[in-house]
Symmetry: C2
Subunit: 163 residues, 2 copies
Amino acid sequence: MADDALFEFLHMEIVALVYKEQATREDIDKERVTCVSTLDAMGFRVGQGMIERFTKDCPTFKDDLDLMKFLCKDFWSTIFKKQIDNLRTNHQGTYVLQDNKFALLTQFSSGKQYLEEAPKYLAFSCGLIRGALSNLGLESVVTAEVSLMPSCKFMPNLKSLIN
Amino acid sequence: MADDALFEFLHMEIVALVYKEQATREDIDKERVTCVSTLDAMGFRVGQGMIERFTKDCPTFKDDLDLMKFLCKDFWSTIFKKQIDNLRTNHQGTYVLQDNKFALLTQFSSGKQYLEEAPKYLAFSCGLIRGALSNLGLESVVTAEVSLMPSCKFMPNLKSLIN
């Protein structure tokens, strides 16, 4: 219990730091894009590192759906202490990973009040997925969507396949 | 195992970010002090948050030595996955917590090669201890010392006592 909190607190500090650093600079216009991409890049490197440890003794994956299932179960559980609740795909490289109670959003009150703050708290995790996929040979673009907190959807779109 | 890695990777990213942000600024002179204090402040807030969760259902502590033992065992184990190896005190408010294999330094080669990089990787943890102590009613100054990686000493100096 206190264990999960460490990651959540650290994540909060990172978001706060990135936004604070940017706020003291002059190029306020670019602020939002830069902050999100800084957080995404941090997530990317952490995702790469994590998946390397994870898959060290793993058999290879049958296909990209198989790999995505692994991300939704093992990878997600270790980081966010629960599995992804729902995985969908159009079988053409687009996936939708739905987490009904996303750990990094549970601190917010549910409802729409803080909805516009949500992207700040999803950027790191988008990078995390992108980094993990990248180290497994899949280039992707990952976006996220929130309609009602603390539920959210991550949508990795694979640009190339392993095979 | 992959669990601990998450904290270690995140910590690396934070250190890198703080130093990168500072490097792009003009006041290079103040660089070292500012970076260390930014990291210390982040650690402080995380330490406060963590200890709150931890001591929610705890009995109160007998004295400050009792409290320090708790930090060395329970608190340290949750965060760094091992206990402090040695705790010493002069019974006048100065403590020395020695960790012979400090998690955030194990990535470095042992020996003296990277010794001057060490303070970067200790600042957050100094703040962590200071934050935890602060929420338990003890104001302190925490310094750290490394002579041979990955071993290091944290030295909280208590300014006031609970009683």
